[in-house]
Assembly symmetry: C2
Homo-oligomer: 226 residues x 2
């Protein structure tokens, strides 16, 4: 690949290096097309192409009339693991869950030990929203992912927040919905995870997350039978 | 994002859906530009742009004079977790390793139970190459990643092979090299993982992987002091 790499890709990599080198943060503005073209010694059309590539990789975003900015998504693509290319949604959901069993109890336990007061306040809001969404009977994948991703961030591990897509799977991968009974139990264990983190009780957070995941496993089994 | 999504992105998504819908496998050829443009009701230049986007996302690859093919990398981008945007290589290496501690012992244990005779033969070859590379004194990141990725595949979990980048981290993220003593121990535990998998002993594979990772942790600590 390297030797045959298109000029556009090379310029895109250069721009990425600039972002990293200058320690630009999400929301920071990039130099404009003219400046980048001059600095990198290439034409403006190449810069424009490279920027498009970086938009598709969630590295930068274009705001109409305002310019190009470092993306909030910090280079994590929509489907970083190519899960859409795995053709068996039930199998993918079940194997993602197997990974969550390995990761999330420990992350909840770390969050209980490491989360800052601000993170704790954020977790509480997200837990309220998640609980409400679960009990509402509607799709709660989005709220659920936000809560679990915030737990991952609060763990203090710098890599794991970028794995949020693994932690909860792409939304609505399964066609069915959990039964009312399962929803109640999912809401209850969600609250138990939150209470354990708030109490700074790592062991209880670990156990509550395990129980929550076991219920998720049952829910997937139910849905694959629908 | 959705409503403002560029036409190129929409067409790229359409092409992805075609690949998935027709269950095209890695190496399969896509229809040519004319056919795609006609089928999707857009101009050829838009198709060309969309294909470029998909190349940068490792969904397809262009072979000169032959056409466009489904990529072997199955949509897993070069840096799916945006790790290059995390500015602290020692911290990233250490936090990646923390994740490997959670995942890999269990994957080694699953591989001992689930791997096919073909996978076992492949693992043995990769283990030989990895052991040789570790003891050679050169950089062994590539061989090491291949061995660990093959263990992940042999686990039978369909999601986890796409996480290979996590399992071993991007190569040469750390400037230093392990001491000769550490190399010997890494080579020895690599062989122990292999022997346990070959003996179909899940518990021993779990333990050997744990020991191997503990040595990796020490190696990172050594290198961050260099």
């Amino acid at each position: 690949m390297d030797s045959r790499k298109l000029l556009t890709e090379k310029v895109a990599d250069e721009i990425v290096r600039t972002i990293i080198g200058k320690e630009r943060k999400a929301g920071d503005k990039l130099p404009n097309e003219f400046e980048l073209a001059e600095k990198l010694g290439v034409g403006r059309s190449t810069v424009r192409e490279a920027i498009k590539t970086l938009v598709s990789r969630n590295v930068v975003e274009i705001r109409r009339g305002a310019g190009t900015f470092v993306s909030e998504r910090s280079g994590v693509s929509e489907d970083p693991l190519g899960l859409q290319f795995l053709n068996d949604p039930v199998r993918v959901a079940s194997d993602l869950l197997a990974l969550r069993f390995l990761l999330e109890p420990r992350l909840a336990s770390l969050a209980a030990g490491n989360c800052s007061p601000e993170q704790l306040a954020e977790l509480m809001e997200l837990c309220d929203a998640c609980e409400h969404a679960i009990l509402s009977g509607d799709d709660f994948a989005e709220e659920n992912m936000r809560f679990h991703a915030a737990i991952a961030r609060a763990s203090g591990n710098v890599v794991v927040p970028n794995l949020a897509v693994i932690l909860c799977g792409p939304p609505s991968m399964l066609a069915g919905t959990p039964s009312e009974q399962t929803r109640k139990e999912l809401a209850r264990t969600t609250r138990e995870i939150m209470s354990a983190i708030a109490a700074r009780d790592g062991m209880a957070a670990y156990d509550a997350m395990l129980l929550h995941l076991a219920l998720c496993r049952r829910s997937i089994a139910e849905q694959s039978l629908q």
